[in-house]
Symmetry: C2
Subunit: 303 residues, 2 copies
Amino acid sequence: MSLVVLGTVALDHVKTPAGERKEMLGGSAAHFAMSARLFTGVEIAAVVGRDFPLPHLKFLKRKNVNLDSLVMSDGKTFRWSGEYQKNDLNTAVTKYTELGVLGTYIPKPVDHQRKASHVFLANFDPDLQEQFLSHFKTPQLIGLDSMNLWIATKQKSLRRLMKKVDLFVANDSEARALTQENNLIKAAQSLRAMGPEMIVIKKGEHGMLFLGPKDMFSFPAYPVDKVVDPTGAGDTFAGGLMGYLSRARKVDGATLRQACVYATTLASFNVQGFGMEKTAGLSMSAVEQRKKALEKFFSLKKS
Amino acid sequence: MSLVVLGTVALDHVKTPAGERKEMLGGSAAHFAMSARLFTGVEIAAVVGRDFPLPHLKFLKRKNVNLDSLVMSDGKTFRWSGEYQKNDLNTAVTKYTELGVLGTYIPKPVDHQRKASHVFLANFDPDLQEQFLSHFKTPQLIGLDSMNLWIATKQKSLRRLMKKVDLFVANDSEARALTQENNLIKAAQSLRAMGPEMIVIKKGEHGMLFLGPKDMFSFPAYPVDKVVDPTGAGDTFAGGLMGYLSRARKVDGATLRQACVYATTLASFNVQGFGMEKTAGLSMSAVEQRKKALEKFFSLKKS
C-alpha cells in the first residue's frame, strides 16, 4: 500500500499568544506527511523554490517522507504568514501570502506513484487537484480537502471534483460555507449528497464528526489546556486519518473509528508546539499513550 | 431522596426559524423539573402571578412535579421573549423581559423541603440563591447555574455562592466570561478553583465537558439535524443531571458519566420542539432508546 499527498511545502511565519516563529517548515503536504509517516510510507507531491533550506529537505527525508515528486523550481518558495489572537485560537488571520513558485506549478506524480492505493488531495486549486488525480490508475481511496478561498472562487470545479473522491475532509466553517447549512449534521448530509461517500467535519477544540453510508459518529478533541500554534492541525489530522486507513487496508466502521481517534490524537500534538515541533519527534508509543487517554476521555467507563 | 429546584416559572414568547409560540409554559425551574421528574420526585420553588394559566399548574402536577413552594403573588407572571436566528440557533436575542412578581419574590422552601438531599439553584439572582440555600439543613449535593447577567452585575455574590456548592453548571460563553479564559479546559480548571468540586460546561451542539476531582470527560451532543427551539435546553440538561444523581445516590465516576449522558439525551429532545412539546410526553423507554443511540454515536465499537 502507498499514500501520495498533493499539497504545499511552505515557509511559515506564525505569530500566536505563545510567541512568533519565522521561516518554519510548513504547508499542507508537509504537515500531512509528518503525521501519516507514523503509519505508512508517504510520498509528497509539491513544489519549492531555489531558496528552500536544504536542512528542511534532509529533515523530511530523515522522517521517511518520499520526495520523488517534490519539484524544485526557479523562484521563491511559497510563504504564508498568519497570526492568531488569544480569544480565538481557531482562526488564523492571514498577514501575507507569497505564492512564488506555487503560482506556476502543475503537479504531477512520478510514474511509480500512479499505482498508489491511497491519494490525498490537500488544500489546492481544485482544477489542479483534479488534473493531478487524473494521473492515478485505480486508487482504493481518494481523500480531498479544500478551503474557503476555493469555495468562494472555484466552487464549480470543487463540486465537480467532489464527485470523484471517496472522503471529503472539511472544517466546520468550510462545511457551512459550502452547504449554506448552519446545522453541522445537515451540513455533513449535504456534503455527502455532493458525491463523497464519507465526510469528516473537523471542529477544532470540539473534536470531529464522521458521516458515512452506514455510520455517523463523533469524538471530542483531546483536552489541550494550552494551544501554542494550531497551524497545520487539520493537515495533521488528515495525515493520521489517511495514514491509518492506508495501513489498515480496509474502511469498515471499526477501522474508520480507529482512524479518526488516531487523527484526533495527532492533531492534539500538533497544536501544542509551533509548526512541527511536537509532531516531528513523535514515536508510535507516545501516540498510543495519548490515544488511550483520549479514548478514556470519552469513555462511559471510569478506569 | 428528594430534589428541590429554585428557579423561574415563566410565560415564554419565542420566535425561531421553525415558527413562533406565545404564552408558553417556560422558565428554568419548569424545564428542569420536566426533565428531572423522569428520574426522581422533584419540587419547584418559584413564583407566578395571578394571571398564570391554571392549566399550566395542572399540567405540572400531572407530571408529578411538587408545587408546595410555588408561590402565587399579586401581580403578573414573569415573561420572557426571545428570538433565534437561522445562522445561530445557540444564542437567543432577548426581545423583552417583564419581571412582574419576580421583582419582589423572596424564595423560601417549605418546611419539609429543608431536609432535601439534592438542591439545584437554577439561574437566579445569586444573593437570593444564597439566601434560599441557607434554609436547607445538610444537602448531599448542591448544584448551581447562573448567567451572563449575574456574572456582569453580581460577580462577587456569585463567587461567594460558588464556594458553597458542589456542582457548577455553565455554558461555554458563561464559563469564558466568568474565568476570562478562552480555552475551555483552562476555564473549567479555573471555575473549579473558585470552589465547586465538579464543573459541567455545556457546549450546545458540541456536547459537554465535565471536570471533577478525579475525572475529566467529554461527550458529544446527540446529532439533531433540526433544532426547533433551544430555549430551556440547559435547564433540561441540568434536570437530567441532578435527577439522575438524586436517584443514583452516589457521585462516583461511572455514575457521573451516566448522569451526563442522560442529561445530554434529555437536552436533545428539548431542542426538537417548542417549549416542552417534546420533553412533556417523554417516557423512560424513549429516553433509554435515544441514550443508547447517543452512546453508539461516540462509541469506538461499531454495532
